[in-house]
């Protein structure tokens, strides 16, 4: 099922109301749009929960993503700055109604073998579809766009030339190398209340 910009309330409002809301959004966009954020690497041991999003800059940081290393890449750190893609309406939305973000990932501390491609992937929580964002450049950075609401970003080590676009549609993993780093969009931390049991360490 596809949803419009305003999801379930789109249909009852009618076209005129939607236009009015769109105009309102356009005027309000400076307040909504995240400020450019630094791509510097934050303290990797800083807890997400200690972030105090009181100022605009802090709010932007709040929606950025800290990439954590898996056991295969100890010491690696990464940081994703996430802003709305350029749009005349301030908030960029894809044709199927999903927010579109510009993302910039900067990584430090990957010490794998020299002949691998550090490949960056994004996927919604259920891992379908899996989208190949690209390969980290020589500065261990990458830029791209993500058109997902809740998503996971992760980095794998791939053999050069091993990527076959046909893999994107086959069942199972589109990647073949080990997962080195992963991070989750802040929206991914929004849970249904029924999933908040007392047994787990919660996200703040």
């Amino acid at each position: 099922m596809r949803y419009g910009l305003l999801g379930g309330i789109y249909a009852p409002l009618g076209r005129a109301s939607v236009v009015m809301v769109a105009v309102t959004l356009a005027f309000a966009s400076p307040l909504w749009q995240a400020e450019p954020a630094s791509a510097s690497i934050p303290d990797p041991v800083a807890r997400i929960c200690t972030t105090a999003p009181t100022a605009a800059a802090a709010t932007a940081d709040y929606y950025n993503i800290r990439m954590s290393p898996t056991g295969r890449a100890p010491g690696a750190v990464g940081y994703v700055t996430k802003t709305f893609a350029q749009s005349p309406f301030g908030v960029a939305v894809s044709v199927d109604g999903r927010y579109v973000y510009d993302v910039h990932l900067a990584v430090d501390g990957l010490r794998g073998p020299p002949n691998v491609e550090y490949t960056v992937w994004v996927a919604p929580p259920n891992l379908s579809p899996i989208i190949r964002l690209g390969v980290l450049n020589e500065e261990f950075e990458i830029e791209g766009q993500v058109g997902l609401n809740k998503f996971i970003m992760f980095v794998t080590a791939e053999q050069p030339g091993s990527w076959d676009p046909a893999n994107a549609d086959r069942p199972g993993n589109a990647w073949s190398g080990p997962i080195l780093m992963q991070g989750i969009s802040r929206s991914g931390m929004m849970h249904a209340a029924s999933g908040h049991g007392p047994f787990e360490v919660e996200n703040c």
Binding site: P125, L127, M189, H191, G195, G197, F199, E200, V201
Partner: protein, 457 residues
């Protein structure tokens, strides 16, 4: 005898003084005589296998037939299970590992608890899993394996997955129960105001909803001001030979333990409650004696002892509100899971390791054995100890007892797998103690002792 200047001893004393000065108040310290007794003399350490990173070890389960010497260790955080061969307990070894695919992308506790069961002459193991929303498999509660072919690891086969999208967050605890009707039921705690009951034959047959036949509701807490009980944490389910009922003892959180008649599991009926107990603000684990006369409860809250209840002391409203006894290994901490083998209670007592107490007189329980499986400082706890219910959560977290020969196995959050024997405990059968032979151990072939055979039309 003339005194000599013992430099080594002097240095040791000086070092001890320095350490004693700078160590945090709650850190462990060696005894004054320098001798470290890891356990009481009546406990024999049989095996120990470290299992890697701290807090990657969950609950533990042992098959009960000597001919099937397999132990299942849930892998917390890693999202899986290790199977250990204890055919020669002194040289136990891991023979099989399973991990959820793309484990690095999953979030949450991972493998928390698992139970085995036997059905139609085949053996199965259900691994309970908990993954948070935001990552994959938040709706996955358990993965079920056919383990009949062990010890051949190639013969282990996944037969299905139990999912519950209505209560994301997975299953925290499982209880596999051979019902008096002959059915094999799997009770599962979910992140919701109920527990799920699955008929595992229906599950294996591919029934809709994985064979879900009923839900055990969390009742309204009868104690004013106690707060709403909103989910179950753990169960004990057993047949009561005297009343002819299958009974489920379900500990809810934050507080309240409820006793249901599940003789007709599709229509669970609340019998009584253990609630409004002074000083109890949290319920975690519950069990009863084989005759269902005495209950024991653990609250997973610092400073809380294990409490004993007279299960026939309920008032006119069906509430039991006063314990009759209590036991603790260390009043500054608390216990975790336990297994009753009347009159003994085997306790995974977190930082105090394995503890065994005797409750033949429930008003005066006493410690009979212990072995410290945890050797880190006491200020390292689950999740940094930040939560009020995890302040001292580290160390022995699960255990099980093989009734045939009394082998005791323990899973420790940090130090891994342990196996022990207790002097004078070569096995357990309730009949030897004047009780029904009822415990967490199921008679998969014959059903619970005292139950009438299922009527066959």
């Amino acid at each position: 005898m003339p005194h000599t200047f013992d430099v080594t001893r002097l240095f040791a004393l000086a070092l001890a003084a320095i350490v004693g000065t700078v160590a945090p108040a709650d850190a462990q310290s060696p005894p004054a005589d320098g001798r470290i007794e890891q356990g009481t003399a009546n406990v024999e350490l049989v095996s120990h296998i470290p299992l890697g990173q701290a807090f990657s070890v969950g609950d533990i389960e042992i098959e009960q037939e000597i001919s099937r010497p397999y132990v299942y260790v849930s892998r917390w955080l890693l999202g899986g299970v290790d199977i250990i061969d204890v055919s020669k307990p002194e040289s136990s070894q891991i023979i099989y590992r399973w991990r959820i695919e793309n484990a690095e992308l999953h979030r949450g506790s991972g493998g928390t608890d698992g139970k085995y069961f036997k059905l139609n002459d085949r053996y199965y193991y259900a691994q309970g899993l908990q993954f948070q929303q935001g990552g994959p498999d938040a709706d996955l509660g358990a993965v079920v394996f056919d383990v009949t072919g062990l010890p051949d690891p190639e013969a282990v086969r996944e037969v299905g997955r139990i999912r519950d999208a209505s209560s994301p967050g997975g299953f925290h605890n499982l209880f596999a129960y051979k019902h008096s009707s002959g059915r094999v039921l799997l009770f599962a705690t979910v992140n919701g105001d109920h527990a799920n009951i699955y008929d595992m034959q229906l599950f294996l047959d591919g029934a809709p909803n994985s064979g879900l036949i009923a839900q055990l509701p969390v009742p309204t807490n009868p104690c004013p001001g106690a707060g709403m009980s909103h989910t179950y944490h753990d169960f004990y389910i057993a047949f009561d030979a005297e009343t002819g009922q299958d009974k489920a003892y379900a500990a809810s959180q934050p507080v309240g333990t409820y006793v249901f008649d599940v003789t007709r599991p599709e229509e669970p009926e609340l019998i009584k409650s253990v609630a409004c107990v002074p000083g109890v603000t949290r319920d975690h684990t519950f069990a009863v004696s084989p005759d269902h006369k005495y209950g024991i409860a653990e609250g997973h809250l610092r400073y809380s002892p294990i409490r004993m209840f007279d299960m026939e002391s309920d008032d006119a409203t069906g509430m039991i509100t006063r314990p009759i006894g209590a036991w603790t290994a260390d009043w500054k901490k608390h216990a975790h899971n336990f297994e009753m083998r009347w009159p003994y209670v085997f306790v995974a007592n977190y930082m105090e390791g394995l503890q065994v107490f005797n409750m033949m007189d429930p008003e005066n329980p006493y410690t009979v054995a212990s072995f410290d499986t945890y050797d880190q400082p006491d200020n390292i706890a689950y999740g940094g100890g930040a939560s009020f219910f995890t302040e001292v959560a580290n160390g022995a977290m699960g255990l099980d007892v093989r009734n045939k020969d009394g082998l005791i196995i323990v899973s420790d959050f940090t130090t891994g797998f342990w196996a022990f024997r207790l002097d004078g405990f070569q096995g357990w059968n309730g009949n030897d103690w004047g009780m029904p032979n009822i415990s967490t151990v199921q008679d998969w072939d014959n059903g619970p002792e005292g139950a009438k055979p299922a009527t066959v039309f």
